[in-house]
Symmetry: none
Subunit: 189 residues, 4 copies
DNA sequence: GCGTAACCGAGACGGTACGTCCCGTCTTGAT
DNA sequence: ATCAAGACGGGACGTACCGTCTCGGTTACGC
């Protein structure tokens, strides 16, 4: 079980998610295929477990004292972990797999997206506590605005994940959140 | 060739990208497998061609006269085309495939991402022309901020693509872009 | 152990020897696989034990007073037990298994073939005692001539095990054995 | 296809039918497993084809001029081909397989048993033509009496296939057939 | 009457082969 | 001459059992 995850990690780092094969994992781990299937229902869940915690460890919650500082630190940290790294390729591979396996999608939402967002949400809550932003700000939308563009570039690779990009993104979000106590979007149709 | 695309479209709509096989396409189209390979190098490019133009047709460039109106119209249109539809599932399937096939990734960037963004960029340019926003605004970042969160929710399905979501996203972006000329948020702290 | 044999018998009767697995026997008997292996070294020996005595009980030694009567009664009894019955299918299944498992082959010879033949041999000995046939007649060959053709038809199923078949076989054997003392067939040519 | 049969023959000769594996055949022949399955529906039919003609070639129809001579020559030839040889072990392996695979059983009857018997029947017909034996003699029973005991010893291996055995068997059969123009088995109940 | 050992069910384990599905390439026969 | 039809070598799939091996829980025995 440990050996299986170890073998999985190795293959993921050597050749990426697409080349991951239950057969090879079993061989490398010196384990029967049936044993792998007994513990993981698909190569998606296996890869997810091998990938798992590692990501969260490497992408901790920042605490700089200001919303802008936090968001920027978080985004920079994410980019560092993900851009041009094995982790990044595994992440995109997993995200791809999630699109074709609904069962994995559940796991993904609960054990990855949920965990990351619950943690990162604290940044927004702290900003509200500090009265930097309005209390009725939708923190989910803020997180989507922060990470959405980053995933967008990672997945489409139409443009690089530069530090400038990070600064721009954070800048616009923070301005958008902190400017207006007057006027709401409800005016829009 | 027409029959091949037709068959591809049918399968995509019936059972999604993951269930698409060249073998079945050829059988359904009454065409030899070799003939399919002669025209498309992978099932990714085939699906892309079958999916292709349809998306652009259904997601036209809006022109409401204001940046906020344009962005909101664009995002709403995207959500309509993609949320809970076959098109949406094909889009996520293709995006997944793009992660594992670098050759397809090139095609994707050039023939999909590039085309959409070139078109949508016009919204930003018009806003600059109208002096709604600063001329040195990075229009690429704006598009990432607009579509990134949407793709984010589509791919992770952690939260629904509601109209409220669209309004919030656009509201924050527009505020973030338009406030800047009167000062910076640092003053608020 | 009783339960194991019971379960084995059930499976043999329901689905035949080929479908017999230790795994299912253990499950049905509510017994651990290891326990089955503790008592039987292979599914061959297990099936043999479950099949075992039953055959001999159902195929007793006849005593009609004449060689011809005995042989015919024996052959008819064998056919009745074996033709179109579950017992017959188990017998052929076991005989098949014996071909691939030399260890089982030993058991088979000692505990089945040996027992049956020792018993049936008595028919020949009685015929010799009655002076129906010569004392230097090879009783082993006689038994092979009696049961060989029967097994032949059972295993190849090229022709049915009719009563006419039994009568012909016995007739030829008996004639072949009893004519000898008055001369040889060469005189007839 | 030729390579497949070649590989099959090799494995059969090296390690016997029980050790025959489609997987290994495919590997040795440098052929996809699917290709093997495309031509042979089971390892039984495959082994049968590889075994096939060879047996008939090696076991020709004798023609000595007398029934006794023919039967003895045939039986001796069979014993030579089969006793202690690879061919013999393949034959018993196949016969075992025939017991568990009804589809193979059909093939076996039509393409092996049928062919051999049709050929060997000629011996009996010639004896009838020569008036050695009665015309209403059941030639099927004669063949069963000739080969039945031989298969019996081969499969149960309770006794060796000696030449003495062959002579005894043939002797009894021939006497049984040629003695009596008087008295018929119908007298029996 | 209470430890303690033997037993045994349950089933996980490392393996092997199964038969199937597609892959992308190559051959063939009919139009 | 083109192309549908589909055979081909290949590789991974997920499953079924093999025979071995821990695990606990339950008896039943000796103290």
């Amino acid at each position: 079980m440990q050996a299986t995850l170890q073998a999985t990690t190795e293959i993921l780092e050597e050749r990426g998610f697409a080349a991951l094969t239950i057969e090879e994992v079993a061989n490398r781990a010196g384990v029967g295929k049936a044993t792998v299937y007994r513990w993981w229902s698909s190569k998606g869940t296996l890869a997810f477990d091998a990938f798992g915690a590692r990501f969260l460890e490497r992408h901790p919650l920042p605490d700089t004292g200001s919303l802008e500082g936090d968001l920027l630190a978080a985004l920079r940290s994410w980019i560092t972990v993900v851009d041009g790294t094995t982790t990044g390729r595994v992440l995109t591979g997993l995200l791809a797999e999630v699109q074709r396996d609904p069962e994995l999608a559940d796991e993904w939402r609960q054990r990855f997206v949920g965990v990351v967002r619950t943690q990162q949400m604290i940044m927004i809550e702290r900003a509200i506590a500090r009265s930097e932003i309005s209390a009725d700000c939708d923190s989910n939308v803020v997180l989507d605005l922060l990470y959405g563009p980053a995933y967008h570039r990672l997945l489409h690779s139409h443009l690089p994940l530069t530090d400038e990009f990070a600064r721009h993104v954070v800048d616009i979000i923070v301005r958008g959140l902190t400017v207006g106590d007057v006027g709401t979007h409800e005016e829009l149709s």
